[in-house]
């Protein structure tokens, strides 16, 4: 009877192998499918059980997001600074399965999702999985000033440290309360409060874009600050007349004067002479045409670029680009405030554009720094000499009594800036998009800033945006 017993044993081996295969399927090979199954609440429950780390302002004390105990062994997220840091911090709502802002981009650190080996050690030592704290680069005082200065006007303020790329301020109004998310109806009434206007909105940059055109002009050495061009108005660009504001007439003027007084016809000529491909090259160096490398969710980062009049994005080498108008910030340009702050930042830092970042460091519960983000060069946009010359030209915009940016003057500190006032809405309407980009102190820049306000009733960059920039710069500089 030994043969059938052996065969029986083989059969048992086969049956048990089936069990091993089935267990492998459910634990390893089919596991991701099972975890993603809509009926599976486990990842949600797991998430609720994790005590997420704190999100802190740059001072390391101001708490922007914390976890508090909920029912059972769960935690809930609480945001002590709702209307001020709503967009940067975002929110994490496990029940809705939604996560935005830093809560999303830094989710791994906040949930303590470290490598496999580390978690095995944690398990062996019986340690509860704990999130790490994220210390941001955000300045709580200046951020508050920016929100207050916007008042009840929709708009955005972005301030960067040009030397490191650290985002010091990223204000967007209106904000929202992440503790109590607005319903769809409320959102419509409030004017898209969930939209981070600093990174998601496409605005025409107006004359602030002349800084990009000037950078290309100087760095290619095709022009110098004293190159003289005709300032007569109107001129024909791409077969259509282009005029200065109020159709002001200028004689032959140099580029410094043309920037100080924001002469459209001169800068349109410069852009046309440089040509599409040169302009596109410099735009790309500044960061246009690609998603910003900010540590922020990709879905909340818009690409600054040129759009066709039908609203279709155009490539950098598109023949449809009306480069003369693009050169003065029109022609279908749609940019984010973050992008314009990056433009100011590159000029401020001697032509070296640093990669923007919101996180300064990641710290574990015991206060040890786990990761420091540090500064990284994103692109060398122009030579240091070209940047210096351009900076001097931008100083004139603020310093010269006839300049457009005099409202940004700060006693004792030289400010370099550029105003912009884009016409928005239908032809003949008085709606504008005022802009101001700047950096200060001009000789040793510590802050680069971009300010814009949505749909102003006839306001100008110099009158609406420059004063906001001045206040925020003042808040950042003495301690910067």
């Amino acid at each position: 009877m030994s043969k059938p017993i052996l065969r029986l044993y083989v059969l048992v081996l086969v049956l048990f192998s089936t069990l091993v295969v089935a267990t492998s399927w459910s634990t390893v090979f089919g596991a991701s499918g099972l975890r993603d199954n809509p009926l599976n609440q486990r990842s949600l429950l797991q998430e609720l059980q994790i005590r997420r780390g704190l999100i802190l302002a740059a001072d390391g004390r101001t708490v922007l997001a914390r976890s508090v105990r909920g029912p059972g062994h769960t935690f809930e997220r609480s945001y002590p600074t709702p209307a001020i840091f709503s967009h940067e911090v975002g929110y994490s709502n496990a029940r809705l399965g939604q996560r935005v802002g830093l809560e999303r981009s830094r989710n791994a650190a906040l949930t303590g999702d470290t490598n496999e080996l580390g978690s095995i050690f944690d398990q062996l030592s019986g340690k509860e999985r704990e999130g790490q704290n994220v210390v941001t680069t955000l300045d709580p005082v200046a951020q508050k000033v920016a929100i207050d200065q916007l008042g009840n006007r929709k708009g955005s303020v972005v301030a960067l440290d040009p030397r490191t790329g650290a985002v010091r301020v990223m204000a967007s109004f209106p904000g929202f309360d992440p503790n109590n998310l607005p319903s769809g109806k409320e959102q419509a009434a409030l004017g898209s409060p969930l939209l981070n206007r600093a990174t998601q909105a496409h605005y025409p940059p107006g004359s602030t874009f002349k800084v990009v055109t000037a950078a290309a002009a100087l760095d290619t050495r095709r022009f110098t600050p004293s190159s003289v061009l005709s300032g007569k108005s109107p001129i024909t660009v791409s077969g259509v007349p282009l005029a200065n504001d109020n159709n002001d007439q200028f004689g032959p003027i140099d580029l410094t004067t043309a920037l100080t007084k924001s002469v459209n016809t001169v800068w349109a000529q410069v852009a046309v002479r440089l040509g599409r491909s040169t302009m596109a090259k410099y735009m790309q160096r500044f960061g246009f045409y690609k998603t910003p490398q900010l540590d922020y969710p990709k879905t909340q980062l818009a690409v600054s670029r040129v759009f066709s009049f039908r609203g279709r994005p155009l490539g950098p080498d598109s023949k449809q680009t009306d480069i003369g108008r693009v050169g003065i910030g029109q022609g279908g340009l749609g940019v984010t405030p973050l992008q314009m702050a990056m433009v100011a930042s590159a000029v401020a830092n001697g032509g070296r554009l640093m990669r923007p970042h919101l996180t300064d460091r990641i710290v574990d519960r015991d206060g040890r720094t786990v990761q420091r983000i540090g500064s990284h060069l994103q692109a060398t946009v122009m030579s240091a000499g070209a940047a210096r010359s351009l900076g001097k030209m931008m100083q004139q915009v603020v310093k010269d009594p006839e300049g457009t940016g005099t409202a940004a003057q700060i006693g004792g500190t030289a400010v370099a800036g550029k105003t912009g006032t884009a016409q928005v809405g239908t032809l003949g309407s008085n709606l504008t998009q005022p802009w101001f980009i700047a950096f200060a102190p001009a000789d040793n820049p510590k802050v680069a800033i971009a300010v814009t306000v949505e749909r102003s009733q006839g306001g100008f960059g110099g009158t609406v945006a420059a004063p906001i920039a001045k206040r925020v710069l003042e808040a950042l500089l003495p301690r910067g």
């Binding site: 459910s26 634990t27 975890r35 486990r42 062994h73 019986g126």
Partner: protein, 441 residues
């Protein structure tokens, strides 16, 4: 080394496991090692040692690895249950005491286990009758649509199917020892298929009938598969005829298809098995919620598991997420916490027990002993297959316990009796001076 000394050494891993396991639970709960908790481990180890000493005197030649393997499973099980619910672990420990008493009792009562043959029809009748007890009004109890339990005043719920399987194996081994040659010799070949003689096949048809009856009356597919599979294993070893097995399988499949197809409880189990993630089935009472949650729990485990005591069993408000974690789905909890590797280690221990059981069958010197060892090993292996296969969606999920690990008195008691019988056969087979060779083929 002598067999019993090997057994003593082999008990060390179980001792270490139970100590480490309890310590792990305490550290995880961040409670100090209290007197009460330490006594758990101490009592458990004391019981193992006492049993070992009994075996040393009563069955000096019996297989030295079976008891340590079972002790390993039992200690692992009690730690697992302790992690789930300390109160249940205390009750489970009591069941172990009862189980070990019956284990020792069986060894002394049936030192010459071949006496069992004299009572084979009585044993078969009792086995079948107690199987039907859950349907008796007043004492029967229904769980999840199946009639598996009997309410016993002191012990609580008792599942007679567990004991029934041992009884039926004893009957089969005894009956087939007598008739196996007649079955083979009297067989005729019709159309190339070997058909056994009906006269001697009759009692075996009763077994088939019993399996079907189990399906109709207690509505439990799992027990049905276990019984019939054990029967086929013994029949095959006794006759060495694959055709008998095939006929049996066809008969079972047809019966299950026609009878089972008309029992709502069985069909819903099969539906749930085929479409566990269909929302309608998932939300239905007695639907696929259990198997779906079982698979979700295992998916959480991965290769190494979430760690002991880390599986999510309840919702934040306290309702249970994973149903029956201490009985039917304990394998899912093991997989969740110890991962694929831990689960495979448990399966390996079961496989080793089956291997030892079949080795005993090979060594046995008479047909009854061989068939008894084969039958007991086969039902044991099938029980593991039915429940683990159910939990991992190889077959429809049915309410069978994972031997020695799942919480449940009847399971512990019945499996200790099964172990006692295997050790009795083993002791006789390995005895140096061959006793009577009566009944040898």
């Amino acid at each position: 080394m002598r067999a019993r000394n090997r057994e003593l050494v082999a008990l060390v891993p179980a001792a270490l496991l139970v100590t480490a396991g309890f310590a792990a639970v305490f550290i995880q709960r961040q409670a100090a090692l209290t007197n009460v908790s330490l006594t758990y481990g101490a009592i458990f180890l004391g019981l193992c040692l006492a049993t070992h000493i009994v075996l040393r005197f009563a069955l000096p030649h019996a297989d030295p690895y079976l008891f340590p393997l079972v002790a390993l499973l039992a200690s692992f099980g009690v730690v697992m249950i302790y992690r789930l619910d300390p109160a249940l672990a205390l009750k489970q420990a009591k069941f172990f005491v009862i189980g070990l008493i019956l284990f020792v009792g069986t060894i002394f009562a049936f030192r010459d286990y071949r006496r069992l043959e004299q009572y084979r029809y009585t044993i078969a009748a009792v086995g079948l009758l107690i199987l039907l007890l859950p349907r008796v009004p007043g004492i029967g109890a229904q769980t999840n649509g199946a009639y598996l339990g009997v309410k016993v005043p002191v012990l609580g719920a008792f599942q007679p199917a567990e004991l029934s399987k041992v009884a039926i194996v004893v009957f089969l081994a005894s009956y087939l020892r007598d008739t196996r040659q007649v079955l083979v010799l009297g067989a005729r070949r019709i159309l190339g298929v070997t058909i056994p003689p009906l006269k001697h096949f009759g009692p075996l048809l009763v077994i088939w009938g019993a399996s079907m009856l189990a399906l109709v009356l207690i509505k439990d597919l799992g027990s049905s598969i276990m019984f019939f599979g054990g029967f086929l294993a013994v029949l095959y070893v006794a006759t060495n005829r694959v055709s008998f097995v095939l006929i049996g399988l066809v008969a079972f499949a047809l019966g299950a298809y026609f009878i089972g197809g008309h029992i709502a409880h069985v069909t819903s189990r099969v539906d749930a098995w085929q479409h566990p993630f269909q929302p309608a089935l998932y939300n239905r009472t007695g639907g696929s919620y259990q198997i779906a949650q079982s698979l979700f729990a295992q998916a959480d485990g991965g290769l190494f598991g979430r760690g002991f005591g880390e599986a999510i069993l309840n919702l934040p408000q306290g309702q249970s997420l994973l149903p029956a974690p201490q009985t039917d789905l304990i394998y899912a909890v093991i997989t969740d916490e110890l991962g694929l590797f831990g689960a495979c280690a448990v399966l390996l221990v079961y496989l080793l027990i089956v291997e030892r059981g079949l080795r005993i069958a090979l060594l046995a010197r008479d047909s009854f002993s061989t068939l008894l060892a084969v039958g007991l090993s086969a039902v044991f292996a099938l029980q593991v297959f039915v429940i683990v296969g159910g939990v991992t969606k190889v077959i429809p999920l049915t309410g069978v316990t994972l031997p020695f690990i799942s919480y449940g008195g009847s399971s512990v008691v019945a499996n200790f009796i099964l172990l006692a019988l295997l050790l009795l056969v083993s002791d006789r087979a390995r005895r140096p001076h061959a006793g009577s060779r009566a009944g040898a083929a």
